[in-house]
Symmetry: C2
Subunit: 233 residues, 2 copies
Protein backbone atom coordinates (compact mmCIF):
# COMPACT_ATOMS: atom_id res chain seq x y z
CA UNK A 1 0.00 0.00 0.00
CA UNK A 2 2.67 2.45 1.10
CA UNK A 3 4.63 2.04 -2.12
CA UNK A 4 1.77 2.94 -4.39
CA UNK A 5 0.80 6.23 -2.80
CA UNK A 6 4.43 7.29 -2.98
CA UNK A 7 4.46 6.34 -6.66
CA UNK A 8 1.16 8.09 -7.36
CA UNK A 9 2.22 11.30 -5.63
CA UNK A 10 5.49 11.32 -7.50
CA UNK A 11 3.92 10.56 -10.87
CA UNK A 12 0.86 12.82 -10.61
CA UNK A 13 2.19 15.71 -8.57
CA UNK A 14 5.98 15.35 -8.47
CA UNK A 15 5.70 15.18 -4.68
CA UNK A 16 8.14 13.18 -2.58
CA UNK A 17 7.90 13.44 1.21
CA UNK A 18 11.09 14.02 3.16
CA UNK A 19 9.42 12.81 6.33
CA UNK A 20 7.24 9.86 5.37
CA UNK A 21 5.79 9.68 8.87
CA UNK A 22 3.88 12.91 8.18
CA UNK A 23 2.19 11.29 5.19
CA UNK A 24 1.38 8.22 7.29
CA UNK A 25 -0.14 10.43 9.98
CA UNK A 26 -2.21 12.33 7.43
CA UNK A 27 -3.74 9.11 6.09
CA UNK A 28 -4.43 7.36 9.39
CA UNK A 29 -7.76 7.52 11.20
CA UNK A 30 -8.03 7.25 15.00
CA UNK A 31 -9.88 3.93 14.64
CA UNK A 32 -6.75 2.37 13.08
CA UNK A 33 -4.51 3.71 15.84
CA UNK A 34 -6.88 2.26 18.45
CA UNK A 35 -6.63 -1.18 16.80
CA UNK A 36 -2.84 -0.99 16.68
CA UNK A 37 -1.79 0.21 20.12
CA UNK A 38 1.84 0.42 21.24
CA UNK A 39 3.05 1.16 17.72
CA UNK A 40 3.41 4.86 18.36
CA UNK A 41 1.00 5.67 15.52
CA UNK A 42 -0.61 9.08 15.16
CA UNK A 43 -3.92 9.92 13.51
CA UNK A 44 -4.67 12.74 11.13
CA UNK A 45 -6.73 15.16 13.21
CA UNK A 46 -4.06 17.59 14.39
CA UNK A 47 -2.51 17.87 10.94
CA UNK A 48 -5.96 18.36 9.47
CA UNK A 49 -6.47 21.32 11.84
CA UNK A 50 -3.40 22.93 10.31
CA UNK A 51 -4.17 21.92 6.72
CA UNK A 52 -7.60 23.50 6.94
CA UNK A 53 -6.07 26.89 7.79
CA UNK A 54 -3.40 26.53 5.08
CA UNK A 55 -6.05 25.89 2.43
CA UNK A 56 -8.21 28.78 3.68
CA UNK A 57 -5.36 31.22 3.24
CA UNK A 58 -4.05 29.96 -0.09
CA UNK A 59 -7.53 29.89 -1.63
CA UNK A 60 -8.45 33.28 -0.12
CA UNK A 61 -5.31 34.93 -1.40
CA UNK A 62 -5.67 33.43 -4.86
CA UNK A 63 -9.26 34.57 -5.43
CA UNK A 64 -8.57 37.94 -3.77
CA UNK A 65 -5.87 38.60 -6.38
CA UNK A 66 -7.57 36.93 -9.32
CA UNK A 67 -10.84 38.86 -8.90
CA UNK A 68 -9.63 42.33 -7.93
CA UNK A 69 -13.09 43.87 -8.20
CA UNK A 70 -15.08 41.12 -6.51
CA UNK A 71 -16.75 42.40 -3.34
CA UNK A 72 -16.21 40.63 -0.03
CA UNK A 73 -19.62 38.95 0.01
CA UNK A 74 -18.94 37.19 -3.26
CA UNK A 75 -15.38 36.32 -2.32
CA UNK A 76 -16.76 34.71 0.82
CA UNK A 77 -19.37 32.72 -1.14
CA UNK A 78 -16.79 31.61 -3.69
CA UNK A 79 -14.34 30.55 -0.99
CA UNK A 80 -17.12 28.66 0.77
CA UNK A 81 -17.84 26.77 -2.45
CA UNK A 82 -14.16 25.93 -2.94
CA UNK A 83 -13.30 25.18 0.68
CA UNK A 84 -16.09 22.79 1.65
CA UNK A 85 -16.78 19.14 2.21
CA UNK A 86 -18.28 18.63 -1.24
CA UNK A 87 -15.25 20.05 -3.03
CA UNK A 88 -12.53 18.63 -0.81
CA UNK A 89 -14.01 15.13 -0.76
CA UNK A 90 -14.14 15.23 -4.56
CA UNK A 91 -10.51 16.39 -4.73
CA UNK A 92 -9.51 13.60 -2.32
CA UNK A 93 -11.13 11.05 -4.63
CA UNK A 94 -9.47 12.55 -7.70
CA UNK A 95 -6.11 12.24 -5.93
CA UNK A 96 -7.04 8.61 -4.98
CA UNK A 97 -6.44 9.39 -1.30
CA UNK A 98 -9.51 7.26 -0.51
CA UNK A 99 -7.55 4.15 -1.50
CA UNK A 100 -4.78 4.81 1.02
CA UNK A 101 -6.61 5.75 4.23
CA UNK A 102 -5.78 3.48 7.17
CA UNK A 103 -9.05 2.66 8.92
CA UNK A 104 -10.08 0.42 11.80
CA UNK A 105 -12.17 -2.65 10.87
CA UNK A 106 -15.42 -1.24 12.20
CA UNK A 107 -15.04 1.99 10.27
CA UNK A 108 -14.14 0.06 7.13
CA UNK A 109 -17.27 -2.07 7.43
CA UNK A 110 -19.33 1.03 8.10
CA UNK A 111 -18.26 2.50 4.75
CA UNK A 112 -16.10 5.29 6.14
CA UNK A 113 -13.77 5.08 3.13
CA UNK A 114 -16.49 6.58 0.96
CA UNK A 115 -17.79 9.07 3.51
CA UNK A 116 -17.42 12.63 2.27
CA UNK A 117 -16.69 14.05 5.72
CA UNK A 118 -13.71 11.69 6.14
CA UNK A 119 -12.44 12.33 2.61
CA UNK A 120 -12.66 16.06 3.21
CA UNK A 121 -10.66 15.67 6.43
CA UNK A 122 -8.05 13.58 4.62
CA UNK A 123 -7.65 16.16 1.86
CA UNK A 124 -6.98 18.78 4.55
CA UNK A 125 -4.62 16.54 6.49
CA UNK A 126 -2.67 15.71 3.34
CA UNK A 127 -2.21 19.43 2.72
CA UNK A 128 -1.20 19.92 6.37
CA UNK A 129 1.42 17.19 6.05
CA UNK A 130 2.78 18.61 2.80
CA UNK A 131 2.95 22.06 4.40
CA UNK A 132 4.88 20.74 7.40
CA UNK A 133 7.18 18.71 5.18
CA UNK A 134 7.92 21.20 2.42
CA UNK A 135 6.35 24.55 3.25
CA UNK A 136 3.90 26.75 1.44
CA UNK A 137 5.40 26.69 -2.08
CA UNK A 138 4.82 22.93 -2.38
CA UNK A 139 1.20 23.34 -1.25
CA UNK A 140 0.72 26.20 -3.72
CA UNK A 141 1.95 24.00 -6.54
CA UNK A 142 -0.34 21.16 -5.50
CA UNK A 143 -3.36 23.44 -5.17
CA UNK A 144 -2.61 25.07 -8.53
CA UNK A 145 -2.88 21.58 -10.02
CA UNK A 146 -5.85 20.23 -8.09
CA UNK A 147 -8.12 23.18 -7.21
CA UNK A 148 -7.53 26.35 -9.20
CA UNK A 149 -7.95 24.93 -12.74
CA UNK A 150 -11.52 24.12 -11.69
CA UNK A 151 -12.26 27.85 -11.59
CA UNK A 152 -11.76 27.80 -15.37
CA UNK A 153 -13.72 24.65 -16.05
CA UNK A 154 -16.73 26.11 -14.26
CA UNK A 155 -16.91 23.92 -11.15
CA UNK A 156 -17.75 26.92 -8.97
CA UNK A 157 -19.69 28.94 -11.54
CA UNK A 158 -22.92 28.62 -9.57
CA UNK A 159 -21.57 31.09 -7.02
CA UNK A 160 -19.88 33.47 -9.44
CA UNK A 161 -22.08 36.04 -11.14
CA UNK A 162 -19.93 36.76 -14.21
CA UNK A 163 -22.25 39.43 -15.57
CA UNK A 164 -21.95 41.54 -12.43
CA UNK A 165 -18.25 40.79 -12.23
CA UNK A 166 -17.71 42.01 -15.83
CA UNK A 167 -19.70 45.16 -15.14
CA UNK A 168 -17.56 45.87 -12.08
CA UNK A 169 -14.29 45.32 -13.93
CA UNK A 170 -15.31 47.63 -16.76
CA UNK A 171 -16.54 50.31 -14.36
CA UNK A 172 -13.07 50.66 -12.87
CA UNK A 173 -12.32 53.20 -15.60
CA UNK A 174 -15.63 55.03 -15.33
CA UNK A 175 -19.11 54.23 -16.59
CA UNK A 176 -19.43 51.17 -18.76
CA UNK A 177 -22.40 50.45 -20.95
CA UNK A 178 -22.58 46.86 -22.05
CA UNK A 179 -25.32 44.88 -23.69
CA UNK A 180 -25.99 41.25 -24.48
CA UNK A 181 -27.34 40.21 -27.91
CA UNK A 182 -28.70 36.87 -28.95
CA UNK A 183 -26.66 35.68 -31.95
CA UNK A 184 -28.25 32.33 -32.59
CA UNK A 185 -30.77 29.75 -31.43
CA UNK A 186 -30.32 26.20 -32.69
CA UNK A 187 -31.46 22.66 -32.04
CA UNK A 188 -34.82 20.92 -31.52
CA UNK A 189 -37.50 22.91 -29.68
CA UNK A 190 -37.02 21.17 -26.34
CA UNK A 191 -33.23 21.32 -26.46
CA UNK A 192 -32.39 24.72 -27.82
CA UNK A 193 -28.85 26.06 -27.68
CA UNK A 194 -28.51 29.78 -27.28
CA UNK A 195 -25.52 31.78 -28.44
CA UNK A 196 -25.06 35.20 -26.93
CA UNK A 197 -22.41 37.90 -27.31
CA UNK A 198 -21.61 40.77 -24.97
CA UNK A 199 -20.64 44.16 -26.42
CA UNK A 200 -19.57 47.53 -25.10
CA UNK A 201 -20.20 50.59 -27.26
CA UNK A 202 -17.23 49.78 -29.50
CA UNK A 203 -16.65 46.07 -29.79
CA UNK A 204 -17.63 42.50 -29.08
CA UNK A 205 -16.10 41.48 -25.73
CA UNK A 206 -17.06 37.83 -25.52
CA UNK A 207 -19.31 35.04 -26.71
CA UNK A 208 -21.02 32.21 -24.87
CA UNK A 209 -23.52 29.42 -25.38
CA UNK A 210 -25.93 27.61 -23.10
CA UNK A 211 -29.27 25.90 -22.70
CA UNK A 212 -30.93 29.17 -21.71
CA UNK A 213 -30.31 32.82 -22.57
CA UNK A 214 -29.35 33.43 -18.94
CA UNK A 215 -26.71 30.69 -18.96
CA UNK A 216 -25.39 31.87 -22.36
CA UNK A 217 -25.07 35.44 -21.03
CA UNK A 218 -23.09 34.27 -18.02
CA UNK A 219 -20.84 32.28 -20.38
CA UNK A 220 -20.34 35.34 -22.60
CA UNK A 221 -19.43 37.50 -19.59
CA UNK A 222 -16.99 34.83 -18.41
CA UNK A 223 -15.45 34.72 -21.91
CA UNK A 224 -15.08 38.52 -21.87
CA UNK A 225 -13.44 38.45 -18.44
CA UNK A 226 -10.94 35.86 -19.62
CA UNK A 227 -10.13 37.93 -22.71
CA UNK A 228 -9.65 41.05 -20.56
CA UNK A 229 -7.42 39.14 -18.16
CA UNK A 230 -5.21 37.88 -21.00
CA UNK A 231 -5.00 41.44 -22.34
CA UNK A 232 -4.10 42.89 -18.93
CA UNK A 233 -1.52 40.32 -17.89
CA UNK B 1 -5.12 62.05 11.75
CA UNK B 2 -3.03 60.27 9.16
CA UNK B 3 0.21 61.43 10.73
CA UNK B 4 -0.57 60.04 14.14
CA UNK B 5 -1.38 56.48 13.11
CA UNK B 6 1.85 56.40 11.15
CA UNK B 7 3.70 57.61 14.24
CA UNK B 8 1.93 55.14 16.53
CA UNK B 9 2.62 52.20 14.25
CA UNK B 10 6.25 53.16 13.97
CA UNK B 11 6.71 53.75 17.68
CA UNK B 12 4.72 50.79 19.00
CA UNK B 13 5.37 48.16 16.35
CA UNK B 14 8.22 49.47 14.17
CA UNK B 15 5.82 49.26 11.21
CA UNK B 16 6.06 51.65 8.28
CA UNK B 17 3.82 51.02 5.28
CA UNK B 18 5.37 51.14 1.83
CA UNK B 19 1.96 51.61 0.25
CA UNK B 20 0.02 53.99 2.49
CA UNK B 21 -3.13 53.49 0.44
CA UNK B 22 -3.41 49.96 1.83
CA UNK B 23 -3.48 51.33 5.37
CA UNK B 24 -6.09 53.90 4.34
CA UNK B 25 -8.22 51.18 2.79
CA UNK B 26 -7.93 49.01 5.92
CA UNK B 27 -9.23 51.84 8.14
CA UNK B 28 -12.06 53.08 5.94
CA UNK B 29 -15.65 51.94 6.31
CA UNK B 30 -18.06 51.81 3.35
CA UNK B 31 -20.18 54.58 4.95
CA UNK B 32 -17.24 56.98 4.62
CA UNK B 33 -16.68 56.07 0.97
CA UNK B 34 -20.38 56.65 0.27
CA UNK B 35 -20.16 60.15 1.75
CA UNK B 36 -17.05 60.96 -0.29
CA UNK B 37 -17.84 59.80 -3.81
CA UNK B 38 -15.56 60.40 -6.79
CA UNK B 39 -12.44 60.29 -4.63
CA UNK B 40 -11.56 56.76 -5.65
CA UNK B 41 -11.66 55.60 -2.02
CA UNK B 42 -11.84 51.94 -1.10
CA UNK B 43 -13.30 50.40 2.05
CA UNK B 44 -11.85 47.68 4.20
CA UNK B 45 -14.02 44.67 3.45
CA UNK B 46 -11.95 42.91 0.78
CA UNK B 47 -8.72 43.31 2.74
CA UNK B 48 -10.50 42.08 5.84
CA UNK B 49 -11.47 38.91 3.94
CA UNK B 50 -7.78 38.26 3.35
CA UNK B 51 -6.62 39.33 6.83
CA UNK B 52 -9.05 36.91 8.44
CA UNK B 53 -7.44 33.97 6.61
CA UNK B 54 -3.92 35.21 7.37
CA UNK B 55 -4.70 35.35 11.09
CA UNK B 56 -6.35 31.94 11.04
CA UNK B 57 -3.23 30.34 9.60
CA UNK B 58 -0.66 32.15 11.73
CA UNK B 59 -2.56 31.46 14.95
CA UNK B 60 -3.26 27.84 13.94
CA UNK B 61 0.35 27.15 13.10
CA UNK B 62 1.61 28.79 16.29
CA UNK B 63 -0.60 26.82 18.67
CA UNK B 64 -0.11 23.62 16.63
CA UNK B 65 3.63 23.88 17.23
CA UNK B 66 3.52 25.29 20.73
CA UNK B 67 1.20 22.57 22.07
CA UNK B 68 2.50 19.46 20.30
CA UNK B 69 0.33 17.11 22.36
CA UNK B 70 -2.89 19.10 22.30
CA UNK B 71 -5.66 17.20 20.51
CA UNK B 72 -7.54 18.77 17.63
CA UNK B 73 -10.68 19.51 19.65
CA UNK B 74 -8.76 21.65 22.10
CA UNK B 75 -6.70 23.32 19.40
CA UNK B 76 -9.97 24.27 17.71
CA UNK B 77 -11.42 25.68 20.95
CA UNK B 78 -8.26 27.62 21.69
CA UNK B 79 -8.11 29.04 18.17
CA UNK B 80 -11.76 30.02 18.43
CA UNK B 81 -11.01 31.92 21.64
CA UNK B 82 -8.04 33.70 20.05
CA UNK B 83 -9.59 34.35 16.64
CA UNK B 84 -12.94 35.86 17.61
CA UNK B 85 -14.75 39.16 17.83
CA UNK B 86 -14.12 39.54 21.56
CA UNK B 87 -10.36 39.08 21.20
CA UNK B 88 -9.84 40.98 17.97
CA UNK B 89 -11.92 43.97 19.05
CA UNK B 90 -9.87 44.14 22.24
CA UNK B 91 -6.62 43.97 20.26
CA UNK B 92 -7.89 46.73 17.94
CA UNK B 93 -8.51 48.94 20.96
CA UNK B 94 -5.10 48.16 22.43
CA UNK B 95 -3.53 49.20 19.11
CA UNK B 96 -5.73 52.37 19.13
CA UNK B 97 -7.12 51.48 15.71
CA UNK B 98 -10.54 52.68 16.95
CA UNK B 99 -9.22 56.25 16.91
CA UNK B 100 -8.30 56.14 13.24
CA UNK B 101 -11.29 54.50 11.55
CA UNK B 102 -12.87 56.67 8.85
CA UNK B 103 -16.64 56.48 9.30
CA UNK B 104 -19.66 58.13 7.71
CA UNK B 105 -21.53 60.61 9.89
CA UNK B 106 -24.49 58.33 10.52
CA UNK B 107 -22.28 55.45 11.60
CA UNK B 108 -20.29 57.79 13.85
CA UNK B 109 -23.45 59.03 15.54
CA UNK B 110 -24.68 55.45 15.88
CA UNK B 111 -21.59 54.59 17.91
CA UNK B 112 -19.95 52.34 15.32
CA UNK B 113 -16.49 53.37 16.51
CA UNK B 114 -17.01 51.42 19.72
CA UNK B 115 -18.84 48.49 18.15
CA UNK B 116 -16.94 45.25 18.69
CA UNK B 117 -17.94 43.80 15.32
CA UNK B 118 -16.43 46.79 13.49
CA UNK B 119 -13.29 46.79 15.62
CA UNK B 120 -12.84 43.08 14.95
CA UNK B 121 -13.18 43.72 11.21
CA UNK B 122 -10.64 46.53 11.40
CA UNK B 123 -8.12 44.38 13.24
CA UNK B 124 -8.42 41.81 10.44
CA UNK B 125 -8.22 44.41 7.69
CA UNK B 126 -5.14 45.97 9.27
CA UNK B 127 -3.48 42.55 9.21
CA UNK B 128 -4.60 42.03 5.61
CA UNK B 129 -3.06 45.37 4.62
CA UNK B 130 0.18 44.61 6.43
CA UNK B 131 0.32 41.20 4.73
CA UNK B 132 -0.18 42.72 1.28
CA UNK B 133 2.35 45.45 1.99
CA UNK B 134 5.13 43.46 3.66
CA UNK B 135 4.28 39.77 3.58
CA UNK B 136 3.93 37.16 6.26
CA UNK B 137 7.07 37.90 8.32
CA UNK B 138 5.80 41.39 9.20
CA UNK B 139 2.44 39.98 10.27
CA UNK B 140 4.18 37.29 12.33
CA UNK B 141 6.17 39.95 14.14
CA UNK B 142 3.04 42.02 14.81
CA UNK B 143 1.07 39.03 16.04
CA UNK B 144 3.96 37.91 18.25
CA UNK B 145 3.69 41.33 19.92
CA UNK B 146 -0.08 41.71 20.09
CA UNK B 147 -1.61 38.23 20.41
CA UNK B 148 0.79 35.48 21.47
CA UNK B 149 2.05 37.03 24.72
CA UNK B 150 -1.55 36.80 25.92
CA UNK B 151 -1.22 33.02 25.95
CA UNK B 152 1.28 33.51 28.79
CA UNK B 153 -0.70 36.10 30.70
CA UNK B 154 -3.70 33.79 30.79
CA UNK B 155 -6.14 35.62 28.48
CA UNK B 156 -7.26 32.33 26.93
CA UNK B 157 -6.86 30.12 29.98
CA UNK B 158 -10.60 29.48 30.18
CA UNK B 159 -10.33 27.23 27.12
CA UNK B 160 -7.05 25.54 28.01
CA UNK B 161 -7.24 22.67 30.45
CA UNK B 162 -3.67 22.77 31.75
CA UNK B 163 -4.09 19.75 34.00
CA UNK B 164 -5.06 17.51 31.07
CA UNK B 165 -2.40 19.13 28.91
CA UNK B 166 0.30 18.40 31.52
CA UNK B 167 -0.87 14.79 31.84
CA UNK B 168 -0.65 14.38 28.06
CA UNK B 169 2.83 15.87 27.83
CA UNK B 170 4.14 13.64 30.61
CA UNK B 171 2.52 10.54 29.11
CA UNK B 172 4.56 10.92 25.93
CA UNK B 173 7.29 8.88 27.64
CA UNK B 174 4.94 6.29 29.12
CA UNK B 175 2.68 6.31 32.17
CA UNK B 176 2.84 9.42 34.33
CA UNK B 177 1.48 9.56 37.85
CA UNK B 178 1.04 13.09 39.08
CA UNK B 179 -0.75 14.47 42.09
CA UNK B 180 -1.76 17.89 43.34
CA UNK B 181 -1.21 18.88 47.00
CA UNK B 182 -2.58 21.88 48.82
CA UNK B 183 0.40 23.79 50.23
CA UNK B 184 -1.35 26.71 51.86
CA UNK B 185 -4.65 28.50 52.43
CA UNK B 186 -4.45 32.16 53.43
CA UNK B 187 -6.62 35.26 53.71
CA UNK B 188 -10.01 36.09 55.25
CA UNK B 189 -12.68 33.36 55.08
CA UNK B 190 -14.55 34.86 52.14
CA UNK B 191 -11.41 35.62 50.17
CA UNK B 192 -9.17 32.64 50.64
CA UNK B 193 -6.08 32.19 48.48
CA UNK B 194 -5.11 28.62 47.76
CA UNK B 195 -1.58 27.52 46.96
CA UNK B 196 -1.20 24.17 45.24
CA UNK B 197 1.81 22.26 43.91
CA UNK B 198 1.90 19.46 41.37
CA UNK B 199 4.30 16.55 41.81
CA UNK B 200 5.27 13.46 39.92
CA UNK B 201 6.72 10.52 41.83
CA UNK B 202 10.11 12.23 42.09
CA UNK B 203 9.83 15.99 42.27
CA UNK B 204 7.75 19.14 42.44
CA UNK B 205 6.86 20.19 38.87
CA UNK B 206 5.07 23.47 39.46
CA UNK B 207 3.24 25.71 41.89
CA UNK B 208 0.14 27.87 41.47
CA UNK B 209 -2.25 30.01 43.45
CA UNK B 210 -5.90 30.96 43.00
CA UNK B 211 -9.21 31.77 44.62
CA UNK B 212 -10.24 28.11 44.52
CA UNK B 213 -8.37 24.83 44.65
CA UNK B 214 -9.45 24.13 41.07
CA UNK B 215 -7.99 27.41 39.81
CA UNK B 216 -4.80 26.91 41.82
CA UNK B 217 -4.38 23.40 40.34
CA UNK B 218 -4.73 24.75 36.80
CA UNK B 219 -2.15 27.43 37.64
CA UNK B 220 0.24 24.80 39.03
CA UNK B 221 -0.14 22.65 35.90
CA UNK B 222 0.50 25.72 33.73
CA UNK B 223 3.61 26.52 35.78
CA UNK B 224 4.84 22.93 35.32
CA UNK B 225 4.25 23.09 31.56
CA UNK B 226 6.24 26.30 31.32
CA UNK B 227 9.10 24.78 33.32
CA UNK B 228 9.09 21.71 31.07
CA UNK B 229 9.07 23.87 27.95
CA UNK B 230 12.07 25.87 29.18
CA UNK B 231 13.87 22.61 29.92
CA UNK B 232 13.07 21.14 26.51
CA UNK B 233 13.89 24.15 24.34
Amino acid sequence: MKKSIDAELKKNFQIEFNDESLLDEALTQASYVNEHPNQGLKFYERIEFLGDAVLQLIVSEYIFKRYPEMPQGKLTRLRAAMVCETSFSQFARECHFDQYIRLGKGEEKGGARNRSSLLCDIFESFVGALYLDQGRPAVEKFVHTVIFPKLDTGAFDHVIDYKTNLQEVLQRDGDALIHYDLLNEAGPDNELDFEVAVFDDKRKLGVGTGKSKKIAEQAAAKDALQALRVKNV
